[in-house]
């Protein structure tokens, strides 16, 4: 049974690679653009801090870089997930995909999301290597860091599924997705840690995707927290619970949207 999933997963990975290869100029230029944008933003922030008499230290710069990379990774997936539905629907292939695949659509879609996530991870990793070198920062990826990154990404998958569900019903939700993605850059504390905001941070941590994950990842990569400590202080179980909740809610919305458009016969409509 497990093996029957395998060819489909491989074909989705292959598809993602072929898409990347076909549009490699676009993919590379986007990566270069973000590689230029981050230093510009960080230098602006450093200059603001210096003019206000505050030293934006190396650890704060590292915190900004960690947040930026996780934001880049997560929004890369978050924006792509509903766009997969929008593209298939606009090209008129959404019905074909559903009818021809022997796997349930949600499983097939999940494989596609995994393929996209792997690509985004590789891009974020490359960007991270270049930027840590440019700013002379030292960041180490421990097993705990990998786990937190995965859990944060899993929560974003859930939001992506929910948005994909909305895309099935409303067809084009690109503006909503972009708004969520760019809003996340500021209010998730991705660029500037927002822990000092007290109750606002606590609310965002529990409700807004990425916020908690970025905060825990900073604790792991800068303050050296290990898994045992994360379990003891409740961060890891909390993030696990949050990501699971987001995944379940997203999955439910995706499936109910799929059922709704099937019942109304709107699957092939764009």
């Amino acid at each position: 049974m497990e093996l029957s999933f395998y060819p489909q997963l491989v074909s989705e990975l292959r598809r993602e690679f072929l898409v990347w290869r076909s549009y490699q100029v676009n993919a590379i230029s986007s990566l270069v653009m973000w590689g230029v944008v981050f230093p510009i933003l960080l230098v602006t922030l450093i200059s603001v801090a210096e003019n206000a008499g505050v030293n934006y230290s190396a650890s704060l710069q590292a915190a900004s870089l960690i947040g930026f990379l996780i934001w880049k990774l997560c929004t890369g997936v978050l924006v792509a997930v509903p766009r997969m539905i929008e593209q298939e629907a606009s090209m008129g292939t959404l019905e074909n995909v559903m009818v021809t695949s022997y796997l349930p659509f949600s499983v097939l879609f999940f494989f596609r999301v995994i393929a996209r996530s792997i690509r985004s991870c590789l891009e974020a990793l490359l960007l991270g290597l270049v930027l840590t070198f440019v700013f002379g920062l030292s960041l180490t990826m421990s097993p705990a860091a990998f786990l937190i990154t995965f859990l944060t990404l899993a929560g974003v998958w859930g939001i992506g599924f929910a948005l994909a569900g909305l895309a099935m019903i409303y067809k084009n939700i690109a503006s909503v997705t972009s708004l969520v993605a760019y809003l996340a850059f500021t209010i998730s504390g991705a660029f500037v840690p927002i822990n000092s905001l007290g109750v606002v941070f606590t609310i965002l941590k529990y409700t807004f995707p990425m916020t908690w994950g970025i905060d825990i990842l900073r604790s792991v990569m800068i303050d050296g927290y290990d898994l045992a400590l994360l379990i003891r202080n409740g961060s890891l179980p909390g993030l696990l619970l949050q990501s699971a909740a987001m995944l379940i809610i997203g999955y439910v919305i995706l499936n109910s949207s799929l059922n709704r458009v099937k019942v109304r016969g709107e699957l092939g409509v764009y």
Partner: protein, 268 residues
């Protein structure tokens, strides 16, 4: 003179009619720039542990609003020529009695007036929300206006360069948006870049950077206009403005000659 004034009046009327026709878009745009600054100010405040207040915010606001007008001029002029080319009205304008460069100049003056009013409305929202102290004396305002207009000459030069390239190579408008956006960060519009090794010397060659610094000297630090005029930075501003205007003038005239000779003015 009457001819130029008439052109300016016409362009101003056009801007107002656009504003009326697309009022929702303009309101959304206004909201976006207000919220954009508030979010940035919030981030800076958090990043500096609350030290980003008062004069620092005023300095940023001066740079932000000046950049907004500069970006508006660049995108407005290039966009208007691109729109004329797409609508097929570019040839009519260029072959009418008005000199093309005079039309562009009138358009730039109208855009400066239009965007200045718009950024004043942006300031009207931001200043009370952030409680930014406007402690500069009123008699500094004419000097500020003089420096402000001088600062906007170089974006006008950039707009002329891009317009010239648009005429010859078409579809250059796409460059105007990223170029105008990146100026916000590279010119030190949000925060002075003094002491940042590569960026500070580089910013001296970019539009608006010196002008924004001088405006901050006048309105935030209380340096008098007579002192500013004697500073080397003021000479730098004059040279910067003259350089961009000169290069822009050269490019637009070169492009004008080229498209008329090739008969490609109406092509898009």
């Amino acid at each position: 003179m009457a001819y130029t004034l008439n052109l300016i009046r016409t362009e101003l009327r056009k801007s107002l009619l656009f504003g009326k026709s697309y009022s929702v878009q303009y309101i959304a745009d206004h909201f976006f720039f207000v919220v954009g600054f508030l979010i940035m100010a919030g981030l800076f405040n958090v990043a500096t542990d609350g030290a980003y207040t008062g004069d620092a915010q005023l300095g940023s606001l001066i740079g932000y609003l000046t950049w907004r007008v500069a970006a508006g001029i660049i995108r407005g002029i290039v966009g208007s020529v691109s729109n004329d080319a797409q609508w097929g009205t570019l040839e009519q304008i260029w072959l009418s009695g008005s000199r093309p460069t005079s039309v562009i100049l009138a358009r730039a003056i109208a855009l400066v007036a239009f965007f200045t009013v718009r950024v004043l409305f942006i300031a009207l929202f931001i200043v009370p929300v952030l409680r930014i102290p406007m402690s500069f004396p009123l008699h500094t305002l004419p000097g500020a206006l003089f420096l402000y207009l001088l600062t906007l000459i170089s974006p006008f030069g950039v707009a002329l360069i891009l317009t010239g390239l648009q005429l010859v190579y078409k579809n250059v408008e796409a460059l105007a948006f990223p170029l105008a956006t990146i100026l916000l960060f590279l010119t030190g519009a949000l925060s002075p870049l003094d002491g940042i090794s590569v960026l500070y010397p580089l910013s001296r060659f970019l539009p608006i950077s010196i002008g924004v610094d001088l405006l901050r000297d006048l309105l935030v630090d209380g340096v008098s206009l007579s002192t500013i005029i004697l500073q080397p930075a003021f000479l730098g501003l004059l040279l910067n403005s003259a350089m961009y205007l000169g290069v822009g003038w050269f490019v637009i005239n070169w492009a004008k000659g080229k498209v008329l000779a090739h008969g490609s003015l109406a092509h898009y």
